[in-house]
Symmetry: C2
Subunit: 165 residues, 2 copies
């Protein structure tokens, strides 16, 4: 299973890039898994009053609900990224796209919104490409850069980078 | 990790028994995990327009979202019960309470609502106890029987059976 991260500060376009890559790879021959980290202490939205929520509220630490086609697991325990990745690797997935967890060491595409974001380029490890909404910003960069304004036309090239990462 | 199933037909009281057992064990020293099967082709309720749902709709087969305390995984692939149980066993859980999957072979408490449910007692394997709302129904039974009408007062005894299963 290949792993590639999409990282960047808030409102840098992570969601847009993720969704475009998922659609691109899924419509090709790759089986995609995805993992997103909610920054700033946010929590995933959960449906109130479902069995899963009721079980968690009653004290269950890991609560699963399975239907015909969908299985959902809710963990009310700390799960480290490594353990999550290991868990994904138990399923027939070719590529795991990871949004966030910028301090992790997997190959990553960094989204750069403005000059304040430049610190990411020196602080983060294993950068394989940059995405930006302002190409002038990155004109002197040593990294391969993708213009996020025309993601439709260059998604194939970005996907190629991700696939080789 | 011990495993115990709570099984029975629709409206036999599975949800009530599950929630009482979860609360009982969690308030004692046991770490509990739970798994519920939606019968009759039902699906778990999922929140629309979350990242997880968006990723699944875009083609992701396994989609995870992680916040400070909660991690949620959604699988848009068939996951067999054995694989789910194996997955739970990777977490620090003492007891996995399983609602449904009545044809599985784990030790189980069968909930009996009326005489039509008697077939369960001959068809299912590894029955350790019966729960019923009508004790007269089970007066000739060879199984240890619990009256579900006073679950508050006999939850400890039922839990003891489950713990030893």
């Amino acid at each position: 299973m290949q792993i590639c991260q999409i990282v960047g500060y808030k409102n840098s376009g992570k969601t847009t890039v993720m969704n475009n890559l998922i659609r691109y790879f899924s419509s090709s021959d790759m089986k995609v898994g995805t993992l997103k980290h909610h920054g700033h202490g946010g929590e995933p939205d959960v449906v109130e009053d479902t069995d899963s929520t009721t079980h968690i509220e009653a004290g269950s630490l890991v609560s699963g609900v399975q239907g015909e086609n969908i299985t959902q697991l809710t963990f009310n325990v700390k799960v480290e990224l490594d353990k999550l990745v290991q868990l994904f690797s138990n399923f027939p997935i070719d590529l795991l796209l990871v949004e966030g967890y910028k301090n992790a060491s997997y190959p990553k595409v960094v989204l750069v919104k403005n000059e304040q974001d430049f610190s990411l380029l020196s602080d983060l490890s294993n950068i394989i490409a940059i995405g930006t909404w302002d190409e002038n910003l990155m004109k002197n960069s040593k990294f391969q850069t993708f213009n996020l304004n025309n993601l439709n036309s260059n998604i194939e090239q970005l996907a190629d980078y991700v696939r080789r990462c």
